[in-house]
Symmetry: C2
Subunit: 445 residues, 2 copies
């Protein structure tokens, strides 16, 4: 991880840069020309293979069509080889080089005055006419626990006498998650059944969860892995960082409380996870890097988790939000209501530290692997990244603007995660939607 | 899971059935004609794509060559479509039907007196001239904790006051494992580094593990998955059971002790797992099914984990063994020495219960997914399936026949898992080797 590459602000970040694509510079767009996130799409309602695309304004560029049209050539075209199979993994295998070649070519072709406008115009589709799938095949999914405010609050609920365990400030705590049940934004979530045993129950029952919750997380996608047995030093960790997505780690709290000891959460999480479909790249995030440090009195990271570049710019200043829309709100034409906001810098460890720690035993990461940040709550109790926190373990319901109350999620509720980076002197970039709606549990015997 | 299909003993199990393949009926072969396990091989030292094969005696049958030779036709040939890509997943997607068609055809073609002998002979390779790879692409790996004797003993070491937690006899406890670092037998294991903090250390260090261990497990491979949101009822669970392998869940106990709370084992396990390369099928295991029941006083499984067929024949009577060869023994020409033996019936839950529980929240399983049993120790302390148990947490070294002692594994040690099924009136079948040798840790700063 060289500071140079993290801070590499080039013409593609110029706030004065504008695109000829209509809608690319409306004040609230997530996808100005400075962003150019990568995803996989197909025409809505079709069952065609997913195709690689880049979002700009309210449009998606069909990248393979742009190659065929002669707009993307050379390294930018080579970078897409293999993605016609329906996944970005071949591009991710190429690490930073392919991704940067694509960005450079697209930034030029989409800029006002580009000679490529006429050829590229037919490669654009309206975002609301396409379906977005998983951007890549996720081989392994690891969920970390870097949200120290979340860990402390939840620790108090599960272990009142022992909220933050002694290892927390030394080890980037994490566990393996379930890769198969990850879906892109828009996929509904069936309320899961599970074994539940209340504090006053003699025996557990198999029943639909009564404490369904969301978790606000950032997902780090890996591009280019390491060989088994070969750790990635922290100086090289960001070479394997392909991009970020938003991640909702849906959780069934009653199932979790009964099952999680001694090996950790399992079926309380594996029924569904939702990610935003657009991968926001390290290049787009370059203007928003932030320093990493430890509060006074906390231990410094062990040497294998420490580097000058990580201290200087290991964090990313990314605002995160959870929004909720109930079935009643939808029926009444009310939009989603914001429940809270926090920031990726609320994480106790940086993404480079997660990559390095994960491989510190020789474990092999591969392109498309997903590392979750863990729930990112802010320091204020109102900044809880889950309902478990916002409702104090279900004891204190939230009251919404329309008077409805929530402790945990009800059938019909839609949870929407949003994220954006902004600072003076840079164009705001966003992550798009990470949304899922709760469907009623199936009837079971 | 119909009792009929579990107990389906047909001509392919006839103890009088013999093959024309030399070596198929030596007294100690793992691979008589009654077994016919499936795997993926290539010529030793080559980098060719893996090819599907079946082991018999000391030979492997090249199945695609057998199709080309006209020996496998119809449903047996169709079942192999797609496996030329280097993995058995396409065959596993077909569930039981393809696998059974293959077995029926091979059993006939390999029997003494078969007219196919001349055509099939050129499709045989010596097992010692081939390299065996992973039989399938493992999408997700879940490790359960069904060894109640292991759970009790280890629980006493980690939580003396609370060895077996209240959920153990109700919930098939499990957690997500790391799929990427699973390798086939014969792949060496580099001693991993990790964060370690001894009871008297003020701060942790990053250093090679000093408590490297093996775990004796059975791996259940899935054939044909379920859709997300659609649990598999226990009556159908064995329809998704494609076969068994042996599994060594290598563990770094010092790393585990420091990292595992509150989310479970992570880097203490993810540096390597080893499986035996031959998938022993439900058809081969049919004569060895055994009843499932609960000791007096233990709770009965909840209804979703209970069925008449599971009670009648949910277990498999499979003897399991751990063997050790030190570098010194190897230098002295001494073979592996047996450390212990246990049985798959020592598991507290059956494989059908694991499949059903895993999907009980709607989690989707896919072909090639691996479910580990957890460490299978017997009821006697000498039957510990790990060195952690056999050495009482490192306090009491084992003394080997040559006088060497072990608490945990030393560099150069080779751990060999073996397994076999035997009973009067049936031909003994075996699982082949699940072996891995410990290499010294890399030098790190």
């Amino acid at each position: 991880m060289s500071p140079a590459s993290l801070f590499m602000i080039d013409a593609s970040h110029d706030p004065a840069l504008r695109s000829w694509v209509a809608g690319a510079h409306t004040p609230d767009t997530d996808f100005p020309i400075q962003n150019l996130p990568l995803g996989m799409f197909r025409p809505a309602g079709s069952s065609a293979l997913l195709r690689p695309g880049v979002a700009i304004g309210d449009r998606v560029i069909d990248l393979l069509a742009a190659v065929q049209a002669g707009v993307l050539t050379g390294a930018a075209a080579d970078a897409l080889q293999g993605t016609e199979a329906g996944t970005l993994n071949p591009l991710m295998d190429r690490g930073a080089a392919g991704r940067r070649a694509l960005r450079t070519a697209l930034s030029a072709a989409l800029a006002e005055g580009s000679a490529a406008q006429a050829a590229l115009q037919p490669c654009l589709h309206a975002l609301d006419a396409v379906e977005l799938g998983l951007p890549c095949r996720i081989g392994d999914y690891t969920d970390f626990y870097t949200g120290i405010h979340h860990a402390t609050t939840v620790g108090q609920l599960f272990r009142p006498d022992n909220p933050l365990l002694p290892n927390y400030k030394w080890v980037p705590i994490g566990y393996h998650g379930r890769a198969s049940s990850i879906r892109a934004s828009g996929h509904a979530v069936v309320r899961p059944h599970g074994q539940i045993k209340g504090p006053n129950d003699e025996v557990p029952v198999y029943a639909p969860t009564r404490r369904l919750d969301h978790e606000l997380e950032v997902g780090v996608l890996i591009g280019g892995g390491n060989a088994l047995g070969e750790p990635i030093a922290i100086e090289q960790a960001e070479d394997h960082f392909f991009g970020l997505v938003l991640l909702n780690d849906w959780s069934a709290r009653d199932v979790q409380a009964w099952e999680y000891q001694p090996l950790g959460p399992f079926l309380s999480k594996s029924f569904a996870s939702t990610i935003s479909p657009w991968i926001v790249t390290p290049e787009a995030l370059a203007p928003f890097r932030a320093p990493f440090g430890r509060p006074a009195g906390d231990p410094q990271p062990l040497p294998y988790l420490d580097s000058a570049a990580n201290r200087a710019a290991g964090h990313i200043d990314l605002t995160l939000e959870v929004w909720l829309q109930t079935a009643q709100m939808r029926a009444d034409g009310l939009p989603h209501e914001r429940l809270m906001a926090s920031n990726f810098t609320d994480a106790y460890w940086t993404l480079a530290q997660l990559i390095t720690h994960h491989t510190s035993n020789g474990c092999d990461l591969g392109s498309g692997d997903l590392l979750g940040s863990g729930t990112l709550s802010g320091p204020d109790p109102k900044q809880g990244g889950s309902l478990l926190e916002l409702s104090l373990g279900g004891k204190q319901p939230l009251t919404l603007a329309n008077g409805e109350q929530r402790t945990f999620l009800q059938d019909g509720d839609s949870v929407l995660l949003r994220g954006h980076c902004a600072r003076p002197g840079a164009v705001r970039i966003g992550f798009g939607a990470c949304e899922g709606r709760v469907l009623p549990a199936h009837q079971r015997g």
